[in-house]
């Protein structure tokens, strides 16, 4: 094939790409924390909130799931400062742009996250909660100590999907000029006028895969720990 390929360039690209790792980790962790919290609150509201709240939260999840990420990014980047300035006289125009990325991603992440949690919660047998209440645990304790660990077992694979997808959302940050590892790769390729793009992309893919393997490993550990005592769905 008439295709130049310089294997050494893969290695050469790695250090510069890795310089974007900090940004990737920042928005990843920020979003998991904030978006996860939002998602959790939404789940809680949908399961045990009053009717009006359930309706609102349902609508919220609905709309967020319909919103393309680029639209959300621009809504937050351009809309939020206007709203805050207009309504509360708070000026966030000078904020670090990474904050906007985290907010946009958190909103986007909260909806699927909440659905993951909701389905996992409903999958835990009712009697588990009842048994916990019957020995004097409060609702909160019953949830945290008995229901949640069991729900997590079935939530984890889906959360894993979401975390990994989220990690790759660097393209979104790039649209407002935040350069993560994906962005670094693109800058390199642009600077080379498209040259060595395959080599650069291979380096990128390798780095992402390694990160994914790390996330998967963590999830596997958590899953194994939480599914203690659970019989796998397997006939002899």
């Amino acid at each position: 094939m008439n295709r130049p390929f310089d294997i050494t360039y893969i290695w050469k690209a790695v250090p510069e790409i890795l310089s974007g790792l900090g940004v990737t980790l920042q928005f990843l962790i920020g979003t998991i924390v904030i978006g996860g919290l939002l998602g959790f609150l939404a789940t809680w509201a949908r399961i045990s909130g009053p009717k009006w709240l359930r309706a609102i939260v349902h609508g919220y999840i609905w709309i967020i799931r319909c919103t393309p990420s680029i639209v959300m990014m621009f809504l937050v980047f351009y809309g939020l400062p206007e709203v805050l300035l207009g309504a509360f006289d708070i000026d966030i125009n000078s904020w670090n742009r990474l904050n906007f990325v985290v907010i946009a991603l958190s909103l986007l992440f909260s909806a699927p996250c909440s659905e993951i949690m909701r389905s996992a919660y409903l999958a835990v047998a009712k009697v588990q909660r009842e048994a916990a209440l019957s020995i004097g645990l409060t609702e909160a304790q019953a949830f945290r100590r008995i229901v949640l660990p069991q729900a997590l077992v079935s939530a984890l694979p889906n959360l894993g999907n979401s975390f990994i997808l989220l990690m790759k959302e660097g393209a979104l940050a790039y649209t407002i000029g935040i350069v993560d590892i994906m962005g670094k790769g693109q800058l390199i390729i642009a600077r080379n006028f498209g040259g060595y793009s395959i080599e650069t992309y291979i380096a990128l893919a390798a780095i992402y895969w390694l990160l994914t393997l790390a996330i998967e490993k963590a999830f596997k550990l958590a899953e194994d720990k939480l599914s203690a005592g659970k019989q796998p769905l397997r006939a002899a």
Partner: protein, 265 residues
């Protein structure tokens, strides 16, 4: 900043033409992926030796590499390779004439398989082992036990996540524009470039996605309600007439009634 409404209307009409492409890009990969994803999930769940290992690597690799890289491989490298092979075999096939939408199908299918296999795996976790055992014990084959008992129960926990995945897929099909496939985003962006009407274009994209994603969500919501009926329990009515009973049940009920056998509720 003002929104140019007539222009919005104009693109909206143009963009509508992209809807079939977007839907095709979503549902063809989804439907192809469903069975494969399920098989992988079962293989991993049951820890089938080699298969489970291979599946795990597959899932990890596909999830772990950026979509744009996969598109590059599929859209640029793969046809080149195919071309060389076809030439070596002395065939007269124009590899480069293949509509790039097929490459898009492949990329999205591979990704959807990986994502859904985890959705199914987690859903299978929610089914009690005893349900499978009971099914086997009355003489169902494992395939039947899965399709009739395990899967319907697993689907209850899977539907919200299937909905997430479908909606995500629907939205990510816009990446097919990298392969020159003209979906709704592609059309809107092309139109926007000339007059730099990005605001209006994104507004249109938003509107169209709201409609499409809403349809998807309605579908899955109804599905979930139907599938989880057994958890909430059927509404108990003393007289069975209002009950939504299986139609065959209704037949037998009538027959027995007419045969003078006692009525049962």
């Amino acid at each position: 900043m003002t929104i140019d409404l007539p222009y919005v209307q104009e693109i909206l009409i143009l963009v509508l033409k992209g809807i079939p492409t977007t839907l095709r890009l979503t549902f063809i990969p989804l439907l192809i992926a469903l069975p494969f994803a399920f098989l992988i999930a079962v293989a991993r769940q049951r820890n089938v030796k080699v298969l489970a290992r291979i599946s795990q690597i597959y899932v990890s690799f596909i999830r772990g590499t950026p979509l744009i890289v996969q598109i590059l491989v599929m859209y640029s490298l793969f046809p080149s390779l195919l071309n060389v092979l076809v030439k070596n075999w002395g065939l007269e096939y124009d590899v480069f004439g293949i509509n790039p939408i097929y490459y898009a199908y492949i990329v999205f299918t591979l990704n959807t398989i990986a994502i859904l296999s985890e959705v199914f795996r987690s859903a299978l976790e929610t089914v009690d082992k005893r349900q499978l055992e009971a099914a086997l014990s009355i003489g169902l084959l494992p395939v039947q036990a899965y399709s009739r008992i395990v899967i319907p129960q697993a689907l209850v926990a899977a539907t919200p996540n299937l909905c997430n995945s479908t909606v995500n897929l629907l939205k990510s099909t816009s990446l097919a524009f990298l392969m020159s496939v003209q979906d709704i985003t592609a059309i809107a962006k092309t139109e926007a470039a000339f007059g730099y009407n990005y605001l209006e274009s994104y507004l249109v994209i938003f509107i169209v996605y709201i409609v499409l994603c809403s349809l998807v969500q309605v579908f899955f919501q109804l599905l979930e309600q139907r599938l989880s009926l057994y958890k909430r329990g059927r509404n108990i009515t003393v007289k069975s007439e209002n009950d939504k009973q299986p139609e065959y049940f209704e037949d037998v009920r009538k027959e027995r009634y007419h045969a003078g056998i006692e009525e049962y509720s």
